[in-house]
């Protein structure tokens, strides 16, 4: 079944971990959770594809994990707090994962953060419909403005 389009799908570069993704990605996240145990980390490292068979993953999910395609994992129902455990198992820092997901070098990503992070300007909306801030949502009530007259 195709994913139902949600209002927040309009936010660029963002995969919201909602109930639908949580359902779809249960296997990915429980695989990642298993990596909290050293014996499981060793078993995974010894034969990744074999180890993954235990988690009832779709072929696309298995491929995303084997390729360490972190954005694809999120798209297919992974959650960042879980997938970060895979990164840690590979011996990577979180900023390494952030660099991979944002398509930049770790050095450039770290420099961006030090300079104040990624600006929200130009990063609010894919459709361009969203207005800056939440001002559009809290319109002054006509009742109170009528009162003032």
């Amino acid at each position: 079944m195709a994913r139902k389009e949600q209002e927040y799908d309009d936010i660029p570069g963002t995969f919201v971990f909602d109930a639908e993704r949580s359902r779809e990605g249960y296997g990915i996240n429980m695989f990642c959770m298993s990596l909290m145990k050293d014996e499981n980390r060793k078993a995974f490292k010894a034969n990744e594809a074999e180890y993954l068979k235990k988690f009832n993953l779709t072929p696309a999910q298995t491929e995303a994990i084997l390729k360490r395609d972190y954005n694809r994992m999120l798209e297919l129902g992974g959650n960042i707090y879980f997938t970060a455990k895979l990164g840690a198992t590979d011996g990577h820092s979180f900023q390494h994962l952030a660099a991979v997901m944002t398509g930049s070098s770790q050095q450039d990503y770290a420099a961006m953060m030090l300079a104040g992070g990624r600006s929200v300007e130009g990063n609010r909306s894919r459709s361009g419909k969203a207005k800056p801030g939440s001002k559009s949502k809290s319109k002054p009530k006509s009742k109170s403005s009528a009162k003032r007259k």
Partner: protein
């Protein structure tokens, strides 16, 4: 009667915990962050709460995707630090207050907040990092018992800001019906703006954060009307955890004194925000036990010093 006397808002960035645990607090990058909490630690030493409630979220440590409680109240006698992949943080075991926690649970459930009761739980950086920032790094024991309140902000949708605020009010009512004389502080943790997932990771919105802190002090009801989409769009996919600060705010009186604020960008991938709000002391001299009065007076002096130093 037990009473909540102040609220603390604080980020709970895991890298802050790592910097503490690995002795990196003197590095310029981290000094910038930790220096913002020096006055807060002094405030906490002088406020000396009898019990703290810490509102936080678990990060795939105690809860996997097997079980996702929206609100989970820790009623255990103790909460060991969780192993988050590098061994448990070298911090003392968190001692709970089971009698008060059970009282709060019963009261808020009858107030129609269907929370989950947790009698066995490990706690991760979401809880222990803000405790370090306010209580320092005690070796053997934290200075007071802590009641953890874990909120789901990992899976969408978290509870709404309004729901969080109303739960705060129900917690305050519960606390004030507890017969023992206790002075309490409540923590709201997480945030401020940050996104750590997907191609938009690294998002920071200082303008949003400042407005959030301003309204938290003066007009929290305005914050309760912010829809989730605005948090995610403006403050980042993970910035939505700021709703937890509204539980803290709801547990305070409508009018509060902002006695301290600190903000810096970044710690790792996150904007660090911190605020201390005190309930106003009307009727402070009325039927107060003397020890409490002295304590409160001492805290007030610090607050003024802190305010002057701001």
């Amino acid at each position: 009667m037990a009473k909540i006397i102040a609220g603390v808002g604080s980020s709970h960035v895991p890298a802050i915990g790592a910097a503490l645990d690995n002795g990196r607090t003197e590095e310029p990058y981290w000094k910038r962050v930790f220096s913002g909490f020096e006055k807060s630690k002094q405030w906490m030493r002088e406020t000396k709460p009898d019990v703290a409630i810490v509102v936080y979220n678990d990060h795939a440590s105690a809860f996997s995707v097997d079980l996702i409680p929206t609100f989970a109240l820790g009623c255990a006698a103790e909460f060991p630090p969780a192993d988050e992949g590098w061994g448990p943080r070298p911090v003392p075991v968190v001692k709970g207050h089971p009698a008060l926690a059970a009282h709060i649970a019963q009261s808020v459930i009858l107030d129609e907040f269907d929370l989950t009761i947790v009698n066995k739980m490990e706690v991760d950086h979401g809880l222990t990092v803000p405790m370090n920032l306010l209580f320092g790094q005690p070796k053997d024991a934290w200075p007071c018992p802590v009641i953890p309140l874990a909120v789901n902000v990992v899976m969408y949708p978290p509870p709404t800001g309004h729901r969080c605020y109303m739960l705060g009010k129900a917690i305050r009512k519960a606390v004030e019906s507890y017969p023992e004389d206790l002075e309490m502080v409540i923590f709201g943790t997480g945030g401020l703006s940050h996104q750590i997932s997907g191609p938009r990771a690294g998002l920071i919105n200082s303008k949003w954060d400042k407005a959030f802190l301003d309204n938290l002090s003066k007009d929290p009801k305005k914050l309760t009307r912010i829809p989730h989409i605005d948090y995610m769009r403006e403050a980042g996919a993970e910035g939505i955890e700021m709703v937890m600060w509204l539980i803290m705010r709801g547990a305070l009186e409508d009018q509060v004194d902002e006695v301290y604020r600190f903000y810096t960008v970044p710690a790792s991938n996150t904007a660090v925000g911190h605020i201390i709000l005190e309930n106003r002391r009307r009727g402070a001299g009325k039927a107060k036990r003397p020890a409490a009065k002295t304590k409160r007076a001492a805290a007030r002096n610090t607050s003024q010093a802190v305010r002057r130093g701001k």
